[in-house]
Amino acid sequence: MSDMSVPKTPRIWQLAERRYRLIGSKCLKCGRVFVGSRKVCPQCGSRELEDVELSRKGKIYSYTVIRASPMEREKYGPYIMAIVELDDGCKLTTEIVDCSPEEIDIGTEVEATFRKIGEESKSGVIYYACKFRPVAKGV
């Protein structure tokens, strides 16, 4: 029956392109950059903000290994979730991929990579977004 249910997609549509391209907000008054869409600058109170593409490079600020995966990810296995400080100063929570926990540390340089983040069901809509992976020579 779940295959016939009305998909919960409208919210995903609204956010999809922002997630694909890592779009945030920049305060035109104080210059601070924020993850996500903001109407008021939490730093200086200005209402003049514009959408900007956030930096696709940064450093691991903090991280943890999720070993007891949530239900929809139970086959996904242990994975790394981190707070990444982007080169433009803002911080976001993201998954770190293409490496094992032993290969990273606080301060490890990472870069954005486009990945699948989930799906509604086997017959449902697939969700994509940026995750991060360690920067390797050249790549």
Binding site: E53, K75, Y76, T113, F114, Y128, A136, G138
Partner: protein
């Protein structure tokens, strides 16, 4: 030259290959085959494997991002068409091309579609973009060939089915394009050498029949058609890049056409990452562009089962030197790797049912 007005040209090129690899020794161990015999027959050491969060869309988008890094003068807002060739789309119905267009920041006023012609769907996408550019319908277009190549567990295809792809930003030839197309010829016949029926997960093929009357016949027909119509011979080319279902076929078809091993080797990727299906010959071309010097001539010939081949003659330009360093090369991606065993490979592919 079979273009009458504007000349189609490449502005940016880029590839993406997942980080995971499986050695052919490991696959052979599982199926009780003799690894040395399998590897010497196919001339493939290891293949790339999609990660648990990677699919054909992921490969297409990351390749497009890499290509755009090499075309800083092209604004995504000037892209008028996004075409993606593949045989492993995660959606049977819903274009990958629209996801790519959103992910690169293309405007909503674009043409977007997915192409299917087995392993030559990527070059069909490229031809469509080239045609729209030179006809003046669009200023720039994005053409992609990408696959997470599918195979039945235990089938001979499993030893070569890799994952990866490449993207090309196409516009009319100018001083900032990196290579222009001299000519393009294609062939197609009704040949059932390899297919996948609707709702079936993995493709089937005619085994040995896929070599002579399919791969060799069509690639040689298309290559010879281009060379005879344009008055070119193998020695006029610096590089020959054919489709790469394994490591032996590309070299054999090169020798039969009259090319030397050193003309085909720079574009070979299959020995280290396997067959990218729609992304195969386009990633071979990407590797050649990573190394080519200005003024060199390249013959690219894709092959798609079903069957057909697309042949392209290209000449590199001065601007190629300044763009090579703007993004990671194919060899950067090939050398970045982590090995997985067969059971992890099955898990990443979701081939373990009932769990």
């Amino acid at each position: 030259m079979n273009f009458k007005g504007d000349i189609p040209a490449i502005y940016g090129w880029g590839s993406y290959i997942p980080v995971y690899r499986i050695k052919l020794d490991e696959i052979a161990r599982v199926w009780g085959e003799e690894p040395a015999r399998v590897k010497s027959g196919l001339q493939v050491e290891e293949i790339s494997v999609k990660g648990r969060d990677e699919d054909q869309v992921v490969i297409a988008v990351n390749a497009a991002w890499t290509a755009l890094k090499r075309a800083p003068e092209v604004s995504p807002k000037d892209i008028g068409a996004v075409y993606v060739g593949s045989e492993s789309k995660p959606y049977a119905v819903k274009p990958t091309a629209t996801i790519v267009a959103a992910a690169v920041g293309a405007p909503v006023t674009i043409r977007a579609a997915d192409y299917e012609f087995a392993c030559k769907a990527g070059t069909e996408a490229l031809i469509s973009v080239m045609a729209q550019v030179v006809s003046g319908m669009i200023r720039y277009g994005l053409a992609i060939g990408a696959d997470t190549s599918q195979s039945w567990p235990g089938d001979v295809l499993e030893y070569t089915a890799g994952a990866g792809g490449s993207a090309y930003i196409i516009g009319s030839k100018s001083s900032t394009s990196v290579a222009y197309f001299e000519s393009q010829y294609s062939v197609a016949t009704d040949t059932p050498d390899f297919w996948r029926r609707d709702e079936v997960k993995y493709p089937r093929h005619m085994g040995r029949f896929t070599g002579e009357p399919a791969y060799f016949k069509h690639i040689m027909l298309a290559a010879n058609e281009l060379m005879s119509r344009e008055g070119l011979k193998p020695s006029d080319f610096d590089y020959f890049v054919p489709h790469q279902p394994n490591g032996t076929f590309p070299v054999r078809v090169a020798l039969r056409l009259g090319f030397k091993p050193e003309q085909v080797k720079p574009g070979l990727i299959s020995p280290w990452v396997g067959n990218f299906y729609s992304g195969s010959s386009l990633t071979g071309l990407s590797r050649v562009l990573d190394k080519a010097k200005p003024g060199q001539r390249i013959l690219l010939v894709s092959f798609g089962s079903g069957a057909g081949a697309d042949a392209f003659s290209l000449v590199t330009q001065e601007a190629i030197e300044g763009k090579k360093g703007l993004a990671p090369t194919v060899d950067d991606y090939i050398s970045r790797k982590k090995y997985v065993d067969y059971s992890t490979y099955l898990k990443f592919w979701d081939k373990i049912y009932g769990v």
